[in-house]
């Protein structure tokens, strides 16, 4: 896929703006030991476990993994959007030091849309089909800023212009079905950024779009987040997207984080075989014609429980008996985290293995 090359923010100087302090010691969002269990009628499924990561003010953090790795569930937990019945959530989700898991609905509703906003995966279904888009942007302004009708229209048009929708004033009265998929996702981005939140969560924001539109929408998203000084938690299965946008990357597998590292080190020397596999599976323009792609063998459904093994071991070329009988822990060193007994040591080793 096309990777946006325009924005490659360096991790260090955090863009200005953002109300929170920019010191590394005070993260904007800190997820600690998050665990989400879906308790069905006859069996319970642990979707997310032992997930801890931080997002500093203005930082772009990626949450990467295949379908079913628990990345969306994590983001829903942060937003408080998981259903209350049949779901057990434990751990801490600290936003600016306040545990969102302990917040009541009223408090959450004051934060959601205002301080933390979200862009969803499917723009075709995430907008209300019977309400004009102008109203859908305006209602969040009314809710959090108490803006009056005229002001709201004014601001909504500005926002539409900002996300690159031509003739925004006329578009305000359009209904979602009159807009293309790319346009709808822009509208959703406009809604999310309307109140200039400090944290934006984007859950696969480009997956449902045409490849050509993907890059454009991602550009708009990254640019506006950067401009507003907001932090971004980007959830994706696409390492190409991560490479273009994120400062920090968390790789998830089967509900747990298996590797966390800053972008450059991660791409230069992935340590977890799963990360290595993801990187190696990206088709490259410079590979000779006709050479087959290198997928990770097996499928994400072939997991064993983390409780007494490494969940990735059935698909891992490096797995031995230890991996199949002991659950690895997330170990931290040199600003990186890794959950593996047999990490890939060097990039050379990686290329040789795969």
């Amino acid at each position: 896929m096309a990777v946006p090359t325009t924005t490659s923010p360096t991790p260090e100087p955090v863009p200005g703006g953002g109300a929170g302090p920019a010191t590394p010691g005070a993260p904007l969002l800190e997820v600690r030991d998050l665990r989400v269990r879906f308790t069905g009628r006859d069996r319970a499924v642990t979707a997310v476990d032992e997930v801890s990561f931080t997002v500093s003010p203005g930082q772009n953090v990626g949450l990467v993994g295949e379908s079913g790795s628990g990345k969306s569930v994590t983001s829903m937990a942060v937003m408080g959007l998981l259903p209350r019945r049949g779901v057990e959530v434990s751990g801490q989700i600290l936003f600016d030091g306040e545990d969102l898991l302990l917040a009541d609905r009223k408090r959450l509703d004051r934060l959601r849309g205002r301080e933390v906003a979200m862009v969803f995966q499917d723009p075709m279904t995430s907008l209300n089909p019977v309400v004009p888009v102008g109203t859908q942007i305006g209602e969040v302004l009314q809710r959090h800023f108490g803006m009056r009708r005229k002001e709201r229209r004014e601001r909504a048009a500005e926002l539409l212009a900002k996300v690159g929708i031509p003739d925004p004033r006329r578009r305000l009265d359009d209904h979602p079905h009159q807009l293309s998929g790319g346009m709808r996702q822009r509208v959703l981005i406009a809604i999310a950024l309307a109140c200039e939140p400090r944290l934006l969560i984007a859950d696969e924001p480009t997956t449902a779009l045409d490849v050509t539109i993907q890059a454009q929408v991602l550009d708009v998203l990254a640019e506006l987040v950067d401009e507003a000084g907001a932090a971004l938690l980007l959830i994706t299965h696409d390492l190409g997207v991560v490479a273009g946008v994120c400062d920090e990357v968390n790789v998830m597998y089967a509900g747990r984080i298996v590797e966390q590292a800053p972008r450059r080190p991660l791409f230069r020397s992935p340590a977890h075989p799963y990360t290595g596999g993801l990187l190696a599976s990206i088709p490259r323009l410079d590979t000779p014609r006709g050479r087959p792609l290198t997928p990770i063998p097996g499928s994400p459904t072939q997991t064993v429980p983390w409780t007494d093994a490494c969940a990735f071991s059935p698909r891992c070329a490096h797995a031995d008996d230890t991996c199949r009988t002991t659950s690895p822990r997330l170990e931290h060193a040199d600003g990186r985290g890794l959950r593996c007994f047999h990490p890939l040591t060097t990039p050379a080793a990686l290329t040789k293995e795969l």
Binding site: R112, A117, F120, N128, V130, V131, E139
Partner: protein, 334 residues
């Protein structure tokens, strides 16, 4: 929107023409003939012939149809063979009663059904939901005549809270303008007449409205439950919107689409379904009149009444489509 309404009204023309043909053929396909039923058991052949001649039943069918339609176009629905009264006059005698009853029953069903279905969907699986679902099932399967008799027995005969039948206490000297008794009471400011007419509507309306109520509850519950799972409702929560805004703008507006369709269909059914209820409560609507017309093969009355019911049905459907368009912009575009 206006163009849409006009187009739909024009479409009514072929529908009504088709209907008139079918009706015309259908009433004549009924066994028995009107002249004999008018003259009774000791009818002579000469007498029957004379009647047929007077009403034109001896002429070819096509000719009869053409003159029938010709009269219709002039607003003339013919005269009753039995009573000799113009059919249009009996419209005014009987339709207001049935429409009044049907509207009240529908109001009862909608005003209670939609909120109840909504609440049930919001509390899926809890006691309120279970009660509503079970209750609505009971409502659907209870025969109208049984419920009508039960209501009458308990609330009119035993408890004496409400009148046992009729549209209004005959002892009240009410002035009737439109023959919609409640409306008349308000128009003439005869409040006792209005309230008396309302009291007479309560039991029949509940009896007639229970099945539509149960259906509306179930449809609303299903529709709301569906919409609650929609992505755009999640978006609304992510915006931090107040619960009331989410319910009104995002959940109800979308859930109402199937509910409106159901309400329209039920409204049509109420008109024809009122017969049983009217009989139990001696409520003087089209029910008993139509029944007599059928047994006596009173062709002009049958054709006129059924055509008028069909016309009302079409208009209700048109109204439903208009409301649909108002709620959902995608329909307007189509």
């Amino acid at each position: 929107m206006l163009r849409f309404v006009v187009r739909r009204l024009l479409l009514l023309v072929p529908v009504l023409i088709g209907l008139s043909v079918l009706l015309f053929a259908w009433v004549r396909a009924l066994p028995g003939d009107p002249a004999r039923s008018l003259l009774g058991e000791r009818a002579t052949d000469a007498g029957v012939e004379r009647i047929n001649e007077v009403y034109g039943f001896d002429r070819p069918l096509v000719e009869q149809y053409v003159s029938y339609v010709g009269a219709l176009l002039r607003g003339d629905f013919g005269t009753s063979i039995q009573t000799g009264r113009p059919v249009t006059e009996s419209f005014i005698d009987y339709f207001p009663a049935t429409i009044e009853l049907a509207v009240t029953a529908l109001l009862f069903a909608v005003v209670i059904g939609v909120p109840l279905g909504y609440l049930a969907a919001r509390h899926q699986g809890r006691w309120l939901d279970t009660t509503v679902v079970t209750g609505s099932l009971l409502g659907v399967v209870t025969p109208v005549f049984f419920l009508a008799i039960l209501l009458k027995l308990v609330f009119a005969n035993w408890l004496g809270w409400l009148p046992t039948g009729l549209r209004q206490d005959p002892r009240i000297d009410a002035t009737h303008v439109t023959n919609f008794y409640v409306l008349d009471g308000f128009l003439t400011q005869e409040w006792d007449a209005a309230f008396n007419a309302m009291a007479h509507l309560v039991l029949p309306a509940i009896a007639l409205g229970t099945i539509p109520l149960a259906i509306i509850v179930r449809i609303t519950r299903a529709a709301v439950a569906d919409v609650l799972n929609e992505d755009y409702v999640r978006t609304a929560h992510a915006k931090g919107l107040a619960a009331a805004t989410i319910s009104r703008r995002h959940v109800l507006r979308n859930a109402l689409l199937p509910v409106v369709t159901t309400i329209g269909l039920q409204a049509g059914l109420l008109l024809s379904g009122a017969v049983l209820t009217e009989t139990v409560f001696s409520f003087n609507g089209i029910g008993s009149y139509l029944f007599t017309a059928i047994t006596r093969r009173d062709y002009p009355v049958l054709q006129g009444f059924i055509l008028f019911i069909a016309l009302l049905y079409c208009l209700i459907n048109l109204l439903v489509d208009v409301v649909y368009g108002l709620i959902d912009p995608r329909v307007r575009a189509a």
